[in-house]
């Protein structure tokens, strides 16, 4: 997975909205996604392509239809790599602050 592609994909509000729509109900066609958003078909296609390149959306053929699925694995990897670490750091920084404030009181 390429972190840059994932962060770039997540940096756009329309693409985050698409992910939220798929989170609510997964496995949707382009037509369904288009009807849910105030966006042209071309716009939805363009955003889906960026999400697919980042691995956040996986297209799968089902009969005649192409369905789009949300893939949570890259988000998990971002979480493990970038969020967990700093959350632990933040908690310990707050604890240090509490200790120093209480000690000086």
């Amino acid at each position: 997975m390429d972190d840059d592609l994932v962060f770039k994909a997540l940096a756009d509000p329309s693409r985050r909205l698409l992910l939220d729509r798929l989170f609510e109900r997964d496995g949707r066609t382009l037509g369904e996604l288009e009807s849910q958003l105030e966006m042209t078909r071309f716009g939805v296609m363009k955003h889906l392509k960026v999400l697919e390149q980042a691995g956040l959306v996986v297209p799968r053929r089902q009969g005649r239809e192409k369905l789009h699925f949300l893939n949570p694995v890259p988000i998990r990897q971002i979480h493990d790599r970038w969020i967990d670490k700093y959350r632990a750091h933040e908690v310990s920084a707050l604890l240090d602050l509490k200790t120093s404030l209480e000690d000086s009181a």
């Binding site: 496995g27 699925f69 893939n71 890259p74 990897q77 493990d80």
Partner: protein, 153 residues
């Protein structure tokens, strides 16, 4: 936590720096599975359609899954039934299905796609299977570094 029902087809995909044969071994070899899947112990047995795929807790006292192989096409496609027996409510739900697809990809990697579907009659299981992200990340780390990132739980 929302009241929304979980999706009945869920797709998980990742790229692993390994050959399709190595990924195939990782998803079918009981010794490897134990290293990234909560220490699960899979009964050794033939990899063929109709054969059982039985998994136990690390100490082999609790049956975690008593599933059946539905398709077996090494090193590309492996399909088996799924029912979580470690939880009474999930054990009472309908059987669902897990499909593993392995495809060679660019740069000496393999693309692994896991589809967990037929979850219509298994809402509690459907809400829990996002845990595949943890399992698959662990599998990737094991194949790429030789060690899982977390000790087996």
């Amino acid at each position: 936590m929302t009241t929304m029902t979980a999706n009945t087809t869920q797709v998980y995909q990742l790229y692993i720096r390994a050959t399709p044969e190595q990924v195939w071994d990782a998803i079918t070899n009981p010794e490897t599975i134990a290293r990234y899947f909560h220490g699960a112990q899979i009964d050794p047995g033939p990899l063929e359609v109709g054969a059982p795929r039985r998994s136990w807790s690390p100490d082999r006292t609790q049956l975690w899954g008593d599933n059946t192989i539905l398709e077996c096409d090494p090193p590309r496609r492996y399909v088996h039934t799924w029912r979580s027996l470690y939880d009474a409510e999930m054990a009472a739900e309908d059987e669902s299905r897990v499909t593993w697809e392995i495809e060679p990809a660019e740069g000496g990697t393999s693309r692994l796609t896991l589809i967990h579907d037929r979850l219509e009659g298994a809402p509690k299981t459907a809400a829990s299977v996002v845990g595949w992200t943890y399992i698959l990340s662990n599998l990737k780390t094991l194949l790429e570094t030789g060690e899982p990132f977390a000790a087996a739980e």
